[in-house]
Structure formats: C-alpha cells, structure tokens
C-alpha cells in the first residue's frame, strides 16, 4: 500500500482556460506528463460531468453535491490505478473549483456560461520506469456522467493519445 502522505492544496485559479477541447458534456480531458520521478496528471472536465449542474449551487442538495464531488476528486487514489511496481505516491492535488467565489458579484456571470472543473495531481514514482500503464476505471465509476475521456501523454519516450470509454479504461503507454 502507498503511504498516504497527502498534502492538499485547494486553490482557485480563475480564468484558467484550456486548449485541448471545447466544452462538451460527457467528454473530459486527461493529460499525463512524466519525467524523472515526477508524474503530473491533469483532469479537465465540464462541471456538469462532475457535479450534474453548471451553475452556483442553488439548493442545499447541490451544495452537498459540490462538496462530495470535490472531495471525491481529491481522493485521486480511488480514481487512478498506477502499476504497483512503479511505487507512486501522491504529493499534491489541486482542484480548480469554478464556484469557489461565493457571495460574489460574479454569481450571475457564472450562471450564464459553461463552467469547467480542473484538477491537477503531482505524483512521485520511485520506480518511474515501471509506470507503463494507468487504469482510470475509478474515474469513470465515481463520475458516471463522463462518457468519453480524451487522454494525451508525454514522456521522454515520446507523445501519444487515446480515447477511453466506460468499457475501455486502461491506458497502455507502450502500445
């Protein structure tokens, strides 16, 4: 088992826009980059995929949903299955919550447009050469509104991309 020395840093980075794909419900992006012992995983998704709504939480139920979903996002060990041999430990998890600015004048502003949620995870892998695959079954399980996950990755070995669905959740980096 991994040592759970998890340090969370919950910060908001407003205006963080992404180039990967346009806002499309049911579709999310997963970017993976690694070098040396560091592995960075970025998840970017329309808020609807994660929360089921894209506006400031209006009801208590929605507020609860927001809290549950964000804490689920933080528990990255339940989302990503690393190869055991790689010996990976989460160092930091950063969630960009579009609704963090409560009681602000931007409330209505957020109501009108689409919102996105981003999460970034930094892992340290002792045996990073064993980091040859990643299983994201947990991500699909915990966020069933995500239907398609567009994955791209880069390492010293090169770059590639694939598309995952709820039936096909395994990324083989060496393929």
């Amino acid at each position: 088992m991994y040592k759970k020395t998890i340090v969370f840093a919950l910060v908001t980075v407003p205006g963080l826009t992404w180039a990967e794909s346009a806002h499309q419900h049911g579709v999310a992006d997963l970017n993976i980059a690694w070098s040396g012992q560091e592995v960075v995983i970025e998840l970017h998704s329309p808020a609807d995929n994660i929360l089921g709504f894209e506006h400031q939480p209006k009801t208590d139920a929605q507020q609860r949903q927001l809290v549950t979903s964000l804490s689920q996002l933080k528990q990255s060990d339940t989302l990503f299955g690393f190869p055991n041999a790689a010996n990976c430990v989460l160092k930091t998890a950063t969630i960009d919550n579009p609704f963090a600015m409560t009681n602000s004048t931007e409330l209505e502003h957020h109501d009108e447009e689409h919102s996105d949620i981003s999460a970034s995870y930094l892992y340290q892998c002792q045996q990073s050469q064993q980091f040859t695959s990643l299983d994201v079954q947990g991500l699909f399980k915990h966020f069933p509104r995500v239907e398609t996950l567009k994955v791209q990755w880069v390492s010293e070995q090169g770059q590639s991309a694939t598309k995952l669905t709820q039936e096909d959740t395994y990324i083989d980096f060496e393929q």
Binding site: A19, W34, S35, E38, E42, V154, S155, G158, S160, T162
Partner: protein, 418 residues
Amino acid sequence: MTLLKIAAKSAWNRKISLSLAMISIAISILLLLGVDTIRKETKNTFINTISQTDLIIGARSGPVNLLLYSIFHIGDATNNVSYMAYQAISTMREVKWTVPISLGDSHQGFRVMGTNSDYFHYYRYANDRALHIKQGSPFVDIYDTVIGYDVAQKLNYQLNDKIILTHGIVATKHAQHDDKPFSIVGILKKTGTPVDRTVFVSLQGIEAIHIDWQSGTRSPLRISAEKASQMGLKPKSITAFMLGLKNKIDTFHLQRKINEYHDESLLAIMPGVTLARLWQSIGQFEQVLMIVSALVLITGLIGLLTTLLTTLNERRREMAVLRAVGAHAYHVIMLFMLESVFVVAGSCLLGVVLLYGMQYVLQPFIAETYGIHLGISLLDGQQILILMVAVLLSILLSLIPGLIAYKRSLQDGLMIKI
C-alpha cells in the same frame, strides 16, 4: 506418401481449373497483404518523421493542418507567425531550443525550407535519429543551401552546383528568383522522411530573395544579390517553428501558455498527440479496407470450393477405384484436403511473391508522389497469421467435397450408369 503422389497426379489432371483457382486466391492474398503493408508503412512513415520535438507552433488553424504543412509539407499555411512572437517564445524559461520554419518557395517541385543551422542539430526522426550530412557542411553564407538526399539524386546535383529557387509552390517561368542563385554546400543522408525532398536555406536567404518582391510579384526595383546580403536581413515572419523543452513535464503548461498568447493567435500542437489522433480517425477507414480485402479472400476460397465440387462428378470413378482397392474414408478426405492445401499454399507463395514484386516496382513512385516510404521487410506475425488462416480455411472447406465424395464413392462409382 503414396497418397501425396496420388493427390499430385490427380490434381495435375485438372491443372487448368486448379491453377485458375490458385491465381484468384493469390490475388486476394496480395490484396490483403498489400493493404496491410501500406497501412503499416504509411503509419510508420508518419510516426517516424518527427521525434523529440515537444511542440510545433504556427498560426491558429487546425492541429492536423499545422502538422501536415510544417513537417510533411502537405498543404499550405493559412497565416504566418511574427518573428517577434517567435523570439519571445524562444526565450521563455521552459524552452530549451526552437527551430524556425519558413515555407513558400520551391525548386523543381521540391519544397524550399528557410530555417537556421540548428535544424540539422535538433531535428530528430525515427526514435531519436539525427540528420547527417553526407557531403559538405551546413549553410553559412546567405546564398548557401543544403539539399535532401532525393533532391540530389533526382536532379543529379553535386556540391557547389548553383540552383535557382522559384517563388511559390508551382513552377512558373515568371516567378524565378534567378537573380539570386544559391550554391549547394551540403547534401544530407537518406532519412526516408520529407527531409529527403527538401531544399534548405537560411532565413536570411529567404529574406534576400524576396527583398525586391511585393505581394507575390517582383517589383521593378531590382536589388542585386550582393546588395541584398548587406541589407541587414531581418525576417519579419516565419511559417511555423519547432520547440524542445528542458523538462517534458512542462509540455501541457507551455502549450496552454502559447495558445493563450495575447499578442497573436497562435496554435501549439504536440506532434505525437496530433499524429495519434489523426491515426485514430483514419483507423476506421483502414478497418473497412481490411474487411473488404478479407471478403475478397473468402470469395477466392469459395471459388476453390466450387472448383473442387464441380470436379466431383468427373472424379466419381477415381474415388470408387480407390475405395475398391482398399482406401479408407480418411484417405479420400485427405486427398481433397491435400489438394486444397496445395492450391492455397501455392496461392500464398504466389501472393507474397507478387507483393514483393509490386513493392519493388512501386516503391520509388509512391515515395515520390505521396512521400510514403514503403520499407520492404519480411512478413510480420500478423501477416503470417493471415496466411495461416487462409490455409486453415482451405482445410475446413475441403472437408465438404471430401465428405460428399466419401459418402457416395461406393454406391455411386461402381454402379453402371447409362
């Protein structure tokens, strides 16, 4: 052994219909293997053309479009990148190296690329292979050029030959940069990539030949080659540039940063990711082709079955005699099986020979026209599997006439029919 002999002699009696069946199956095997080879080699050519480049940056358009025009020289850029933006991004903290690419001119149908000598240092293909200069050295002077292997071969160029560049991609007599000839200082080794079909000059060289041109036509004001070289040739814009990072971890972060570049609409793509995406979308088309080829093979095999079944009547007596002299049921079935395997194995052999023959003949043409280098290699596991499946299917199909022949050999053959 006797059985083999009998099968061979019997088949020889029906050599025309069997060899026709063999040829039709051979063609379908050629088709199947050919589609498979082209599919794999095309993919290899594309995947192996660029390696170790983390990002390619151009004016905002589609990622595939940018990749195709900047690296594969297919299609044209919609817009340029200002030299200022190029310099600003080059000096960013995360960036290890950048190499500019300036396209738009040609020489005898080969593309001219303006760049700097870093190109020969940083460009990598086929898993980290660097470019090597076969003869000469990289360009130093403004009117120096380094040419790709195919350019030298096709046009029969030697070092120190003088060449004239043409304005634009299509060769026209009126748009020659004939007042400013370039001299060949280097010839590259073969790479099997579009590099082989490229004429490389410095960015200053590109500036110099266009210094007295305005919006695509030559202005009446002529500036001589020597004069131009003294004019402090500063490029205003380039077509695209390649970028390498100090740490791959920064790739996504820098890509975002460039895509949000405030002064200009830029697009940064990850070449490997774009290629993978492109291939996933082409993949479905490939599958359709493979299915069509497989159907053609099945048609060929059914043709063989038809041939075997139609000869059953002629071979009534043959079977009956064999049975009468003590041949077992499995002997009769084996006879058909042997014949069928013999035909299909022959087809496989013929198909493979045809495949290599066609590859050998078409290779230069395909490389020249489509830029795809068909490497002639041994059959891979998947292709051998295709052949084995064909032989296996032939064995299964041969059971049908075998069983029929066995069933009716006794009562049928020896009875006297009028």
